[in-house]
């Protein structure tokens, strides 16, 4: 009499354990793959993580893009008009990457404290300004005004 019922309980238990384990794994993957965004001002203030990848965004500083001759390594400076952070990247740049335009990079600091980008994003529209970049520019401008003479 009890065998089918007990078997059903067992199965139910197994399914429950499976669900709990997979939800746990999923949430861990979620946590591990959350990429935080930092503006140049925050990076200069030391708020950005040193051993974890993060996203750095702002404007590409005018006249800052320098290519090594005959290689794909490029250096440029990301700025929020107050502070600036130099970025190194090896690879083809996206179509809409331009000096003076918004950009978001994904990367991390290497042992020498240089920011090495794995990905450079600048997409879709010539007037495109990533919302996080726009917000970062606003904040930096406000902070500077606030820090000035009153």
């Amino acid at each position: 009499m009890t065998t089918p019922r007990r078997r059903r309980m067992w199965l139910l238990g197994l399914v429950l354990i499976g669900v709990v384990v997979s939800v746990g794994l999923a949430l861990r993957a979620f946590e591990e793959n959350m990429l935080y965004f930092f503006s140049p001002s925050q990076v200069v203030a030391g708020e950005a993580p040193t051993e974890r990848a993060f996203r750095l965004g702002g404007l590409v500083l005018e006249d800052s893009v320098a290519r090594e001759q005959g290689s794909l390594t490029v250096e440029f400076v990301v700025t929020d008009n107050v502070h600036s952070v130099p970025v190194q990247y090896t690879g083809a740049l996206p179509d809409l990457f331009q000096e003076g335009k918004g950009v978001v990079t994904l990367g991390r600091f290497d042992a020498n404290g240089d920011f090495i980008a794995e990905q450079v994003l600048a997409k879709h529209d010539e007037n495109y300004m990533p919302p996080e970049v726009a917000a970062a520019l606003d904040r930096a401008a406000q902070a500077e005004r606030g820090a000035g003479p009153r």
């Binding site: 997979s22 993957a29 979620f30 959350m34 083809a92 740049l93 529209d125």
Partner: protein
């Protein structure tokens, strides 16, 4: 004056949609057949007026009427004629009109196809569609009028975004939109059932082909979008877990769950309340997708306009449609009575696990898509969720789904002995393992455990799907033929198998290199020799370009010459990449020009993508399976047998 006719037509359509929403529903409630009879003519009238408005907008594009703001913003006198037409859905206002046109088309089709249905049910379905139509029409007229004028009219237009000047624009939106919008039909059926309390197998059988039809469009639309992004945007990737992609993929997952749940409801009269919930959720996610792409919370190639007023309006519509439906569900759910039970080992149980896995996958994608938006809008910080999260969670859920799918296809309704399944599936399983483990080694000389698991899973689904047709072949002409619906299932699942093999192989063995090259350079990548011959300027109808010449050799023999371009359009000057692709069934070679490095040197992207065509072949085969299933004889017969709707559900049990 002509554009105002378009606007006027939309106002008339709105009036008709209000009639279609109010009177048939009231008529069904009070049993007034004269009110219910208004549903069909109102739907037909709406279709006529929305089509007319669409034609007027098309006319404004063809005649370069830049006094219409929308035309000025999205067209240009030099734009090739085909793109003047596609520019209609190349911006926000026009794409809403296109949405409406699709809705009017679906409504008209339902009205026309329901001639043999009980008047009460069809009136309710059309009434709900009328409510949806009234909502979207008001949204279009009050926040996004495509016929708004510009004073004074500019001399020329702002041009269509160069990214959208591509044949993909002619194919991707016109297949995706009907899919998106088509989810309103099962939604209407679900709400109609909640209103009437009548949720039987007849109802499910009527709803099923419509749901599959919308699913087919969604499948093809997403496939074409993926293919387009691959050659235009993606530098060789085929899926990015971009928020906009997710916005179309979540309704697809829900719709997939829904058609499986409907199979159970139609055959066995159970899972009713689950079916209703899925139908409501699928449409809600379609609306959410519209909200995400149209409110400006997302920035992407799909997000045309950022206007908070529009976002608020769409949120209100979502609250009204979905919220209303869910409240109705809570109130009426007790009316849904299961007409039978099933054992733990039965087709029902397998389909239930299919549904659970698909819904959980949708939830996981929803979390990854909405959480960053949530934080941003509450000013709690800027995060994004990296693709490893989506890749990991999705494959973790889809692998078991595929394993169960191979078994479930051969499980009988109600109850199946484990021994029978084991005997039937031993050989497919053995074949899948043998092929899946050896093929990657034979073809690529290396394979990780995960790759082998993926390929084995793909072959498992393929082998299991082929079992029935093979058995049929062995029986010869004597045996009973498979129904069209059965063939549909076999093909759709075959497509799943192809997709899994393609996605696994192309992810595991793709080779991606970026390189700085000068004219005359010769280098080797993934067994191919590539020679860069330099670039030359070329001119298109509305752009200039640098066109590169790359010779591809394999074993010293010339395979092909690729001509990727880097274009600069005259009006919107952003540079655009046109990749050169050597496509074949088992492998693509993809070459794109990056940025010029000076002195004739270029940054170049080279991608070698084995089996990538199987990804799209797989989903297209799925869609073809859906087409067979939706046109099965038992759905076609209904038009000829008007009395069928009157047969009590109990006597049609074994249908």
């Amino acid at each position: 004056m002509i554009p105002e006719f378009g606007q006027f037509a939309l106002v008339l359509a709105l009036t008709l949609s209000l009639i279609q929403a109010a009177l048939p529903l009231a008529g069904a409630h009070y049993g007034r057949s004269d009110w219910m009879a208004l549903a069909r003519p109102a739907a037909a009238g709406q279709f006529v007026f929305v089509t007319f408005a669409f034609a007027i907008l098309a006319y404004a594009f063809f005649t370069d009427d830049f006094s219409v703001r929308f035309v000025a913003a999205n067209s240009h006198s030099q734009l090739p004629v085909a793109y003047k037409f596609t520019a209609i859905w190349g911006g926000h206002e026009g794409s809403m009109l296109f949405w409406l046109l699709m809705l009017a088309l679906w409504t008209f089709a339902v009205a026309w196809g329901s001639a043999s249905q009980p008047l009460e049910l069809s009136s309710r379905v059309l009434g709900v569609l009328g409510i949806v139509s009234a909502g979207i029409l008001s949204f279009t007229l009050f926040t996004s009028n495509p016929f708004d004028r510009l004073q004074p009219a500019p001399f020329d237009g702002n041009d269509l975004n160069p990214l959208l000047q591509d044949p993909g624009m002619l194919m991707h939106p016109p297949t995706l939109y009907p899919g998106y919008v088509g989810m309103s039909v099962p939604f209407a059926f679900a709400v109609a059932a909640l209103l009437s309390g009548r949720m039987d197998k007849e109802w499910a059988r009527w709803m099923r082909p419509w749901t599959v039809a919308a699913w087919i469009f969604l499948t093809v639309g997403i496939t074409l979008g993926s293919w387009w992004a691959y050659y235009e945007l993606g530098w060789g990737g085929w899926w990015f877990w971009d928020a906009v992609e997710n916005a179309s993929f979540m309704p697809w997952l829900m719709a997939t769950a829904l058609i499986h749940s409907l199979a159970v409801t139609e055959r066995r009269g159970i899972f009713k309340s689950w079916t209703v919930l899925l139908a409501i959720s699928a449409f809600s996610l379609s609306l959410l997708g519209t909200f995400l792409t149209r409110s400006g919370v997302l920035i992407s190639v799909h997000a045309f306009a950022s206007d908070p007023a529009r976002g608020a309006f769409i949120l209100m519509l979502i609250a009204l449609f979905s919220g209303g439906a869910f409240v109705l569900y809570a109130w009426r759910a007790r009316l849904m009575v299961a007409e039978g039970g099933f054992k733990l080992l039965s087709r029902e149980a397998f389909l239930l696990s299919n549904n659970i896995l698909l819904v959980v996958a949708t939830g996981a994608i929803l979390l990854g898509t909405l959480y960053p938006l949530f934080l941003r809008n509450l000013d709690l910080g800027e995060i994004s969720v990296g693709r490893p999260y989506f890749d990991f969670v999705f494959s973790m859920l889809m692998l078991p789904l595929a394993w169960l799918l191979g078994v479930g296809m051969h499980a009988a309704w109600k109850k199946v002995p484990a021994e029978a399944l084991r005997r039937r599936l031993m050989w497919p399983a053995a074949i899948a393992v043998a092929f899946g483990v050896t093929l990657p080694w034979l073809l690529f000389g290396r394979a990780s455990v995960l790759t082998m698991v993926g390929v084995v899973t793909g072959f498992w689904v393929v082998a299991s799907a082929l079992l029935d047709p093979l058995a049929r072949l062995k029986r010869g002409a004597k045996g009973v033929g498979l129904t069209r619906g059965h063939w549909g299932m076999v093909l759709a699942h075959l497509g799943v198998g192809f997709f899994i093999v393609g996605a696994t192989v192309t992810t595991a063995y793709n080779v991606e290199t970026d390189r700085a090259v000068s004219p005359g350079d010769r280098w080797e990548t993934a067994g191919f020799e590539i020679v860069f011959r330099g670039t030359r300027p070329v001119e298109g109808p509305n752009y200039v370009a640098d066109e590169g010449e790359f010779e591809l050799y394999r074993g010293g023999e010339l395979l092909t010459v690729l001509h990727p371009q880097r274009r600069q359009y005259r009006v919107q000057t952003a540079p655009m990449t046109e990749a050169g692709i050597h496509a074949s069934m088992h492998r693509d070679i993809f070459v794109a020009l990056g940025d010029p490095l000076g002195g004739g040197a270029w940054a170049v992207r080279v991608r070698v993508k084995p089996f990538i065509r199987f990804v799209w072949l797989g989903t297209l085969v799925m869609a073809f399976g859906g087409l067979l299933a939706a046109t099965d004889r038992r759905y076609r017969q209904r038009a000829k047998a008007p009395a069928a709707g009157l047969v009590p559900a109990s006597s049609a049990r074994e249908a």
